[in-house]
Amino acid sequence: MAESMITDEMKSKIGVESEPEVYEVTVQMIQRFIQATGDSNPLWQDEENVKRSKYGGIIAPPTIIPVIGWERFLALQVKSLLRGKMLHAGTELDCYKPVRLGDRISVTNKVANIRELQSETGRALLVIFEGTYKNQNRELVAKCQQKLIGYEAGETKNG
């Protein structure tokens, strides 16, 4: 039987929460996000009209949450586990509070689970990360689970 792909070093990372990193939700952050997705909802940008909305000001699309701190997350946490060919298998987002313009979002991440898979082209690792997002008032804004697959060899099959 082949040696497990899951090393002791990987196992030691499971459940260990990262140090929090804080990101301010700026106009530029929201604008770049909605320009990339092509989302013209006034809630994300129409400063005058949203004053009369239930939020009383601009909010960000809920799907901006997984993107907050994503670059650092990929560079530090993901790359320390998955070094080669990699694909994103899934996202699960739970939203508890709106993300408002000007919020300072504190992000922590941990590895929730690691599993070995047999893909069509060889062995692969499925790593489930769990991010926690809090605002400046220490209110829980969202939780997000990300599933990433790292392939040992061969072709990729997922998106």
Binding site: A36, P62, W70, L74, C95
Partner: protein
């Protein structure tokens, strides 16, 4: 904004109005900048092919953003998106039309809130469902 939809208006089995997207390679680069995901399979064709892919592919999380928009467009200003899950099952390619769709699977009241659960998906031009998931929203009531 579109007209507000209310909990009473929602029928289990009914469809969420489709959202059609056709992401370009330019859009993928914009998404890379917006999200900080600079993995080369999303903009470097040679790199993508060396990884065994037919070509550059659309970021899964960009499609998640499209499905988020599908729901936030539908629920209007007063509705709230509570939960969204996406399973990236197939490949999406830039230039291809993507139809984002949803169907109401359940509605219920809990702790004074009115929840609607939908199955959601994206379908490519071949009719293949490349991403599927679930969304839970809360809607206002008329009375």
């Amino acid at each position: 904004m579109a007209e507000q939809i209310y909990y009473e208006d929602v029928v289990v089995g009914s469809e969420v109005p489709h959202l059609v997207k056709q992401p370009t390679t330019r859009q993928l680069v914009m998404w890379a900048g917006a999200s900080g995901d600079y993995y080369e399979i999303h903009y470097d064709k040679d790199f993508a092919q060396r990884q065994g892919l037919p070509g550059v592919i659309v970021h899964g999380q960009l499609v998640c953003g499209f499905l988020g928009q599908l729901m936030t467009d539908w629920i209007g200003e007063i509705g709230s998106l509570r939960k969204l899950s996406c399973s990236y099952k197939g490949l999406n390619f830039p230039g291809e039309k993507l139809i984002c769709g949803g169907r109401v699977s359940r509605k219920y009241e809990e702790a004074g809130e009115h929840y609607v659960v939908c199955n959601i998906w994206t379908e490519n031009s071949k009719g293949e469902k490349t991403v599927s998931g679930m969304a839970t929203v809360t809607l206002p009531v008329r009375s």
